[in-house]
Each structure stands twice: as C-alpha cells, then as structure tokens.
C-alpha cells in the first residue's frame, strides 16, 4: 500500500501548486477585469466607483492577501464571485458541468463500444486483411483532429441531408432526454472518433499480448471453444490497459472540450473557461481551472489505484 499512500500524500501538494500557478498566471494577463467587464463604459467610472468595485470583487488587496483570502475560502466552498456572471463561481461552474460530464460519458460510451470489439476482432485476425483494415482506420482516426471531424460531420449533414445540427442550446437530460440526446449526439461522435481509435489500438495490442500467454494456451488445450477463450479468458486481462487509457482520456474530457464546444456552440466548461480568460474574470478562471485540475487528478488517482489493484507488481514496487 506504500504506493497508494505516496500518491495520496502528493495530492494536496500538487493541488496547492496548481492553485498558485493559476492565481499568478491569470493576474499576468494584461488589462484589468473591471475594464474587461465594462468595456468602453469603464472610462465613465470615477476613481471612487472603480475603487468600490475593486473592493467588492476583492481585487484591491495585494496578491498574497488575495491569494490567502481565496485559498481559505476554498475550504468553505467559497470560490469568489464571477465578474461576468455576477454570481458565485461555484454556481456558475456547477451550471456548466452537467453538459461537460454528459459529453465525456457519451463519448467514452461510443469509444468503448466501437473500440473494444474492433480491437478484439483485429487481434484475432492478426496480420490478415481485416486486421490491417482496422489498424488503418484506427490510425486515421487517431490522426484526425476533433475539429476536422466536427466540421466534416456538419458539412455532410447540411450539404447531404439539408439539416443543420441544433446549436447553441442545451436541454438538460432530465428535462427532455430525447431532445438532449439529439443535441449531444454529434458532439459526442466528434469527440468519440479519436477516442475510439485509441481504444481500438490499445485493445488490439493488449489482446495480442494476452493471446500468446501460457494460460490462454492452457485454456485452448483443455478444449475451450475459441469464443470462450477470447471473451472469457483473454478479454478480462486485456482490458486492464484499456481501463487506464479510458480513465486518462475521460479525465481530459472532464476539463471541457474547448474546440468541440466552440464548433457546436455548446455551453460547456471548456468554452466557459475560454470566455473567462478572455474576459479576465479572475475568480472564474481560478475556480474553474482548479475544479478541472481537481477532477483530472481524482480521475488519474482512481485509474492508478485501479491499476495497482489489478496488477500487484505496481502496488509492491512503488513508483
């Protein structure tokens, strides 16, 4: 359990590091948030008004004081107030998060349901035309940026079928599941393509490794059917690296898919951060990036722990 403890010890340290980096980085962005918020009207403010606004948003203090105030606030769930939304940062983040979470889950679902069967199929037909076909498709999928997939999908739909995907609106799943899925399916496919390609490649190579293991040979020599050898004996072990890969990829997706959200005009976490950076909404950027980094680290930790649980060598060996 040495490894687990070491991972857990590093966790808060890295999180503090992330919070310091974000805090300083966003303050290095040229321009101040009050001007960014009010635009040209900022010129109409009297110095007194400007000062009182700065006090309201807590940006009148020196950096260390601001940081300390923000940092201690985190423990009370208080991430400050967003200048652009005029609402608590946590509330703004939690409003956007369901969409991002759903998108990440849907694309993972797509990736796994295409990638694993394709990888297994290719592995069982190693070096034959079918294997080659799957490998080429996976390689192309992995090399195609999400925005290319997205634009091509939109083009095919609009030029080929005369329909434009719904954009800019988001209906929560619990309000109208069908409506929600019809809005989310294209972005999910867009993100799922490259993801599915990686899953295919990893499951294929893991499956090939496992298929040459002794216990698979034993199972075969005992007279187990090919189907049971592949699905019952080999696949569960081949899935270990697939779990790792999906976990890491999922962690990335929880950070919001800035580009895909931009293409489909989805109000997700990624686009929110992009806008917040451009608006110099200090509190929102700090809170959101910390939230994203925390998610990412938790997912990675869980993946590592799952990996350690599945593979005793890592658990005992340490780093």
């Amino acid at each position: 359990m040495n490894y687990v403890i070491r991972r857990l010890q590093a966790f808060p340290l890295v999180l503090i590091g992330v919070s310091v980096v974000v805090f300083i980085a966003i303050r290095l962005v040229p321009g101040d948030s009050i001007t960014a918020m009010l635009g040209t009207e900022a010129g109409l403010l009297t110095p007194q008004q400007r000062d009182s606004l700065a006090i309201y948003f807590g940006i009148d203090q020196p950096w260390p004081v601001q940081y300390w105030r923000w940092f201690t606030g985190l423990f009370r769930g208080d991430l400050g107030i967003s200048v652009t939304y005029g609402k608590p940062v946590l509330a703004v983040i939690l409003e956007r998060f369901p969409l991002t979470l759903e998108l990440a889950l849907l694309s993972m679902l797509i990736a796994l349901s295409i990638g694993v069967p394709a990888g297994v199929y290719a592995a069982t037909r190693n070096e034959r035309p079918a294997d080659l076909g799957v490998r080429i498709a996976a390689m192309i999928g992995q090399s195609t940026p999400s925005f290319v997939v997205g634009l091509v999908l939109i083009y095919i739909l609009s030029a080929g079928f005369g329909v434009l995907p719904t954009m800019g609106i988001f209906t929560p799943f619990w309000q109208d599941p069908l409506q929600n899925l019809s809005q989310m399916i294209l972005p999910a496919i867009t993100l799922g393509c490259a993801f599915a390609a990686s899953v295919t490649r990893v499951s294929r190579s893991a499956m090939l490794d496992v298929l040459s293991d002794d216990y698979v040979r034993t199972a075969r020599s005992k007279g187990a059917s090919e189907r049971s050898v592949i699905w019952r004996h080999a696949l569960p072990n081949a899935l270990v690296p697939v779990v790792t890969l999906s976990g890491i990829e999922f962690g990335y997706l929880l950070g919001g898919a800035v580009i895909v959200e931009q293409i489909y005009a989805l109000p997700g976490l990624g686009r929110m951060v992009l806008e917040a950076i451009l608006q110099r909404d200090y509190a929102l950027v700090q809170g959101a990036v910390l939230f994203i980094a925390l998610n990412f680290m938790i997912v990675n930790l869980l993946v590592d722990l799952a990996y350690a649980a599945l593979d005793p060598r890592i658990r005992l060996e340490g780093r």
Partner: protein, 277 residues
Amino acid sequence: MRVVKAIFSHPSGRIGGAIVLVYLLVALLGAVGLTPHDPLMQYRIDRLHAPTSSYWMGTDLFGRDVMSRLMKGVGQSFTVAFFSVALATLAGTVLGLTAAWYGKRWDTVMMRMMDVLLAFPAILLALLIVTIVGPGTWTSVAAISIVYTPIFTRVVRGPALSLKARDFVDAARTFGSSRSYILTRHLLLNLVAPLTVQVTLALAWALLTEAGLSFLGLGTQPPASSLGLMLSDSRNLMEQAPWLLAFPAVAIMLSILGFNLLGDALRDILDPKTRRA
C-alpha cells in the same frame, strides 16, 4: 543510416516517412515563398472560385489562392511544431537528466512541478499562456513547449534513473570521468532511442495543438495563413465552397498521420520490447 534504412523497410515507416518528406518539401517551399501565387494577393474577380487549372485548390472569400495559403500554412505549422518540440525536448532532457542524477530534493521539487503542469489539460494551459503573452507564432511555440516539457522530463528521468544504477556508469565514475562526460556520453547517448520516438510523436501532437490554437483564433494571426485558421474561416462558407474545408482538413490530417506512422515505425525499430504496442 541504419535507422533510415530500417524505417523504409517498415511498412508504416515507409508511408509515414514519405508523407513527412513531402510535407517538409512543401513547408520549405511555403516558408521561402515559392508558391504558385502570392498567398496574400487578393484576386477580387476570382473570389470563391472552385479549383481550376490556375487555382488548383480554388480561391477563398477574398480571392486568395488556397493552395498558396495552404503551402504557407504548412510552413507556418511546421515551424511552430519543430521549434516547440525542440524547446520541450531540450528543457525536458536537462530537467529529467539532472533530476535523475542529483536525486533527492532536486528530484522531488522538479517532479512535483512537472505534476502541477501535467494536472492542467494541455489546451487549457496553452490557452492561459497565449492569453498572458498575446497570440502569435512565437507565443504558440512557447505555449506548446511548456505544455510538452513535463512529458519529456518524465520520458528522460525514468530510464536515466535506471541507467545511473548500471555498472558501466559506476565504472566510468571510478575511472574519474567528469560528471558532464558521464551525463552526456553514458546517459544521454543511451536515451537517444526513446527520445527519438517521443520527439516524432510529439511533433504530431504539436501540429494538432497549433492547429487547435489557430482554430480558436489564438495562434497564427490573420492575414498570415495557418491550417487551423483556414479551417476556422471555412466554417461559414463550406456549403458554397467545400474546397475551403476539404483541402486544409486533409492537409492537417495527413501531416499528423505522417508523424504518427513514423513514430510507430521508430518505436518498433528502436524498442523491440513494445513491438506490437
């Protein structure tokens, strides 16, 4: 020479190598300005012209030749990718080698710092850096290299740690070889193989990130051309002028594909352990 031969006898190495070579040529031509037309010249009467013998890839909304802009854009994307990966490799190698060599506190501090950087999603970190410094070619280079430095640091540190414990390093120490000699001759030289693979794959990611940043309007700034920017511009016109979407899309995809294939081949050739990965 041996490696080059091996690459071209490896099926994906052959294809990847050929693609990369063609791109290098196009990038070079684009960078020095040997394009069919001036990429900034606006042929107003030929606006949104479909591909013809005089404009092989058609023209855009302003009547600029798409092929010339594409060549210039490939030059631009490759410049950013090469410089950012070179910087990340240099920084990552120095940090990883010293972390492995000096160990203890320096190692802990370095690796925790890299953990902090790795906790940011790549594109977000790049966005933050670009917003601080302001968009532009060299900002993209800096942003992408900072994003990929932790990866190189890790790639170098792990093997360097195990090399450091090997007998031949101890032997070199006993013979009185200097620290810098051991670091460069014994450690670095043995790390060339994993680094080469990583560099090739990182070039693919760097091209992807550069295109993404430009697509969001935070990379290369107009009127200069870059593949991501061209794609972003095609968004509102793709029904009338699908060539504006098709050519840059294929160009981005093929460039990344080339480096991915080459990286896979190099991994097979240089690292027999992961032959099938």
